[in-house]
Subunit: 347 residues, 4 copies
Amino acid sequence: MSVRAAVVGAAGYIGGELLRLLLLHPRVDLVAVTSVRRAGRRVDGCHPNLRGLTDLRFTSPADLDDEYDVVFLATPHGETMTGLAQYTSRAGLLIDLSADFRLRDPAVFRSHYGVEHAAPGELDSFVYGLPELHRGELRGADRIAVPGCMAAAAILALHPLAAGDAITGRVVVDARTGSSGAGAAAGQTNLHAERSGALRVFAPVGHRHEAEIGQAIGRPVSMTATGVEAVRGVQVVCHVTLRDGVDDVVLRGLYRQHYRDERFVRVVAARRGNYRLPEPKILAGSNYCDVGFATGTASGAAPTAAVAVGALDNLMKGGAGNAVQCMNLRLGWPESLGLEFPGLHPS
Amino acid sequence: MSVRAAVVGAAGYIGGELLRLLLLHPRVDLVAVTSVRRAGRRVDGCHPNLRGLTDLRFTSPADLDDEYDVVFLATPHGETMTGLAQYTSRAGLLIDLSADFRLRDPAVFRSHYGVEHAAPGELDSFVYGLPELHRGELRGADRIAVPGCMAAAAILALHPLAAGDAITGRVVVDARTGSSGAGAAAGQTNLHAERSGALRVFAPVGHRHEAEIGQAIGRPVSMTATGVEAVRGVQVVCHVTLRDGVDDVVLRGLYRQHYRDERFVRVVAARRGNYRLPEPKILAGSNYCDVGFATGTASGAAPTAAVAVGALDNLMKGGAGNAVQCMNLRLGWPESLGLEFPGLHPS
Amino acid sequence: MSVRAAVVGAAGYIGGELLRLLLLHPRVDLVAVTSVRRAGRRVDGCHPNLRGLTDLRFTSPADLDDEYDVVFLATPHGETMTGLAQYTSRAGLLIDLSADFRLRDPAVFRSHYGVEHAAPGELDSFVYGLPELHRGELRGADRIAVPGCMAAAAILALHPLAAGDAITGRVVVDARTGSSGAGAAAGQTNLHAERSGALRVFAPVGHRHEAEIGQAIGRPVSMTATGVEAVRGVQVVCHVTLRDGVDDVVLRGLYRQHYRDERFVRVVAARRGNYRLPEPKILAGSNYCDVGFATGTASGAAPTAAVAVGALDNLMKGGAGNAVQCMNLRLGWPESLGLEFPGLHPS
Amino acid sequence: MSVRAAVVGAAGYIGGELLRLLLLHPRVDLVAVTSVRRAGRRVDGCHPNLRGLTDLRFTSPADLDDEYDVVFLATPHGETMTGLAQYTSRAGLLIDLSADFRLRDPAVFRSHYGVEHAAPGELDSFVYGLPELHRGELRGADRIAVPGCMAAAAILALHPLAAGDAITGRVVVDARTGSSGAGAAAGQTNLHAERSGALRVFAPVGHRHEAEIGQAIGRPVSMTATGVEAVRGVQVVCHVTLRDGVDDVVLRGLYRQHYRDERFVRVVAARRGNYRLPEPKILAGSNYCDVGFATGTASGAAPTAAVAVGALDNLMKGGAGNAVQCMNLRLGWPESLGLEFPGLHPS
């Protein structure tokens, strides 16, 4: 009663995380994993945490000549939109982890990715893969576009505020990310001696995920992204202006109402301790997105300010874990199947 | 069909790891968790990774007035040997994670811990909790003493060589450990600004685990311990002198033979890649102890030298995970029950 | 021709940094260093980097019975304002590194520090110790209040924009800080296993430095502070809204004009490389504050957004180094005397 | 009265450190810095800590058509021995930081570097650049071969023991190194996500520096090298067997006698504190090599064991700093000229 799954682009970090999850998933048979550069080699050669779990080897994408119940695409941005046809024919369910089909508007895509979309007519055929916002549509989806890691954190942190009409004006999203978000390809940018201990404001304005966030929450967004000393982990600190009358109690109510029944979103806004607000450090390997908030008055300013904070593991709820959650949802299984690992403390 | 378990000393790092494992264990009902200082408070207050998993609160050890199938003692060294009676009466199976009952010889205990043993007559009533060496005895044990983290890594790395009579002379064990091994009590020693980036040779000679290693492998041991920049993780590099005729092929044979059927020991001695030898970085949260080796000739020296390397997560195979494996074994369950998490890469 | 200097509170991290600078300063004789808890012990016992540089020992503050040309106060917040008299009588020049005399308005002090100011009548007797803004006054000052570390970075990053009337509305300051900013006192908060790898939003709103920034730039400020994985280093990312007509060229002009002749402020806004914007990683031990900026348009929003970035070593330009620069300025010496170390790369 | 200096291979990490030291050296005029790949570009483009210190640009090595008082070669291993003639003709003093001329015996070179030496007849024309062992020869040297970073630490830690005939048998050197030791070239090996938090035993046996150590101390050596989480820093833990009658008092005496007058070697063997033994964390940017020791008895073993520990900054005393110290010595200047920075704490 298992489904047959394939992962395309399985030698990268998102790909490796998919392998870890799918190999241990009780209802999935992982039958094909591809890598252009590593075809023929064992998967545990580049994913050493899988030693002892599998003898699988990468194949070439060209050898994907079968049909699969689910195909995950963990390929570089741009490949899904140009090669969509070949995957569609083989896959009952297509789950794309690239950025190609996250945006609805080809003009927004162009302005943020600097190229024309290669398949604008297909944009509407994908459902945005965030179960907390699109559960209904995902239940019937055959094509799913998994959100960007920083976008997912920001959207989940901001959604209760936007949906509850609690904020006004521009939202400032300050995102911080570990080095695995940049992928497994080596370069001067990711050299340990350069990247270690960094606080690198690599996208001071206009990060691509800005467009996803704006699309989801319907407000103007200014996003800054900084690379911090971490391998895994994303945190967003969102600065918002509250509407008159919105206070701590209102906010707490909104968060609770939105996420009361969500398995993978925890509202974290404690009064004491080291972990009062969402912190990616305790989320590595887990599929949680923790969200929280705090309110205050800007010194000398009339409008009340608040911050909404979100945190997740970029390879999990920000990528592979969220993709598996979408698959579980689509196939009618419990959403948490194969995603039970709660994260470590300390770590 | 579940067993009822209690954890004493559950607010520490080993205690927290036990909670994580037992709360998700399919055959365990965690019914009591104690902490002297945190009695009455929620467990997820100090173990934030358990948020959403449990509403448990710590109780005072004095409130442990029931009977339990299994009691885990994650108390400071010295408490088990003075309070043994009170726990014995309540527990079908007692699993002690302190150092009190790891050594067989009270004189060795005295020389390494600087105090007289408080219950020398009970030393033989405990079985040393390393399934790979003592599986038979553990099947019938009612009291189990879980090995020290660095000792476990060194013993598993050296055992095939010692048991196979492949080495001669003194063994030099160079151990490296993350900061969680020092526990959750704050002090100048563990202050982040002092401990961060450290290479602190805190035990240049005579570390306590030296005695456990010597007891297990039956050879003289010199051990050095260094605190390195990590929260979790232990690695030992053991320098040995090989007997005549022992070479790479012999060693590989010994390791394979000893660990062929072990679920949690992987022989890692690859020819290429970043993870050619055991590396704790990919083991966080997993119950693996990876072991490996390499041979060579000392410059100018006749005898052939070799290094045996071991790595594990000090809170897992070096503590809580190993304790759960012992429980599984003792209760006739698959040893890996509740211990399936394979570790993350990258992390 | 040297001046005689004393450091009060010399066992802390700011105190230790003052010792390093003053021991190597060509015109300073360090004659007394005090510590309540370490009186009688060698200074290199707690500042191991000073081994071989000095045989000095801490004395008790009560033993400060002499007169000094300069007294540096690196004491906990609150001690200067209550003990001002005793220091004034002994010191030609008093340089306070605590927060007690940074704010002009006792009401603002009360609202940010939660207590009444103990010497409100003396607030105006201190000059705010930021040479780049107050060089003229500092030349004649006998009492200097050294800015907070995050405040210094934000003020230097924002000053050209505020003074040049280039921005409008509220300024959002997102500050990140290493663990040394929390001082040398051990606690659960700074335990390595808890603090390592953290992204701890410890002050989501209303951090105390917010008041200093607002006072200096004359605009409403919302500040968030996050502890990041670092020992030294502060970075601020300031989100601002530009006035009509203000663009990249205008901003570059403002920064250059303000800092053209500043020895310790570098304008860093490069088009490529890993270090395009200010990055504390390369500033450890140096007295630089690097400042930079980038502009962009918020998605869907009319007003143009910009970010101003500042970075410094919190113990140097954010504390001890800046204090020495103030002393140099006040005593008519080159401002960079004893502050020549440029920082390391890589590190 | 300044000397004219050139640095060949100035875009690497050792090269960058030389630039930092020479630009601030009071008696050096840095007139040429070369890089094959970066010719024409500003040096502060790849060494951002030099911003504001210099407007220098890299030139091509082919443009080195002048004569220089000192030429530093920070080129990849192999280039000095093949290109020696071209540099000799231009340089009064040649200081080579590669491995080409560190070993005296071409057979040992071959066995450790895997190639024939290209200029065996010139091996004796270089003096081994460790002032603490070869001060007399270095005063008259025209060619200096700067030791390897781990070799320098081990030799300085072991030299008093070997020269004092205090040890017997094989020496086991366990070396740990930061990532900058592997250079500035990017690759899968040094990718941040792979290298971060690593304990990578990259040379379990037979590291090249083993030969240098053996040559210097005249004993058989087994060396293991592990990459640890750090950018800068080398630490060696050397396991030795003491001769009969050698104890703590004898060892302390030997260390003190050998290093009493050494500016850059500190004997660190304290009884308490976090920094009881040499620790590279506090040495970044400094030219110190800290050395220390501890004695003990192996459990069950008759011979007394000891460990000798050494620590340094691999780019300083393990490279560029040591090279400048050699230059200072050769030119009759104080050895510490331009090398006064003492290191930071905390960091």
